[in-house]
Symmetry: C2
Subunit: 78 residues, 2 copies
């Protein structure tokens, strides 16, 4: 069974670049990648915060948050 | 031919965790991963800075720097 990875973003330039290079570089044979646009799916901002996500772009792997560079603060996406 | 990815770290707890989850999750069939401990290889701090790395842990993919969470500032590793 594949591990789940979630890439949270908000469509910002920093986010798009991180998705195209870092998120895309994940081993898809081991990880099932879900991409969540928090600007469009505002109902999931709360969920992301509970998982420790503070800014986007960010990757959640093994249940842990990894913030990648800085695009936007989650508080500004509510 | 594989693309090159470089994971820069300094042995800090944040670095170790990022290496074990995020760097390890890269697709090794597409990326050749080099792991550089800047605390031990101080001669490479300058190289990392020139590539745009400002803090560790960080991944260089496609020649672009992706800072992952925050462990230490590169200026403190000189």
């Amino acid at each position: 069974m594949k591990d789940k990875a979630i890439f949270y973003h908000a469509g910002c330039p920093v986010c798009v670049e991180a998705e195209q290079s870092l998120a895309d570089a994940l081993d898809k044979s081991r990880y099932e990648l879900e991409v969540v646009h928090l600007g469009k799916e505002k109902s999931r901002v709360e969920e992301a915060m509970k998982k420790g996500i503070k800014s986007v772009p960010a990757l959640l792997i093994g249940g842990k948050p990894y913030h990648i560079n800085f695009g936007a603060n989650l508080n500004d996406l509510k």
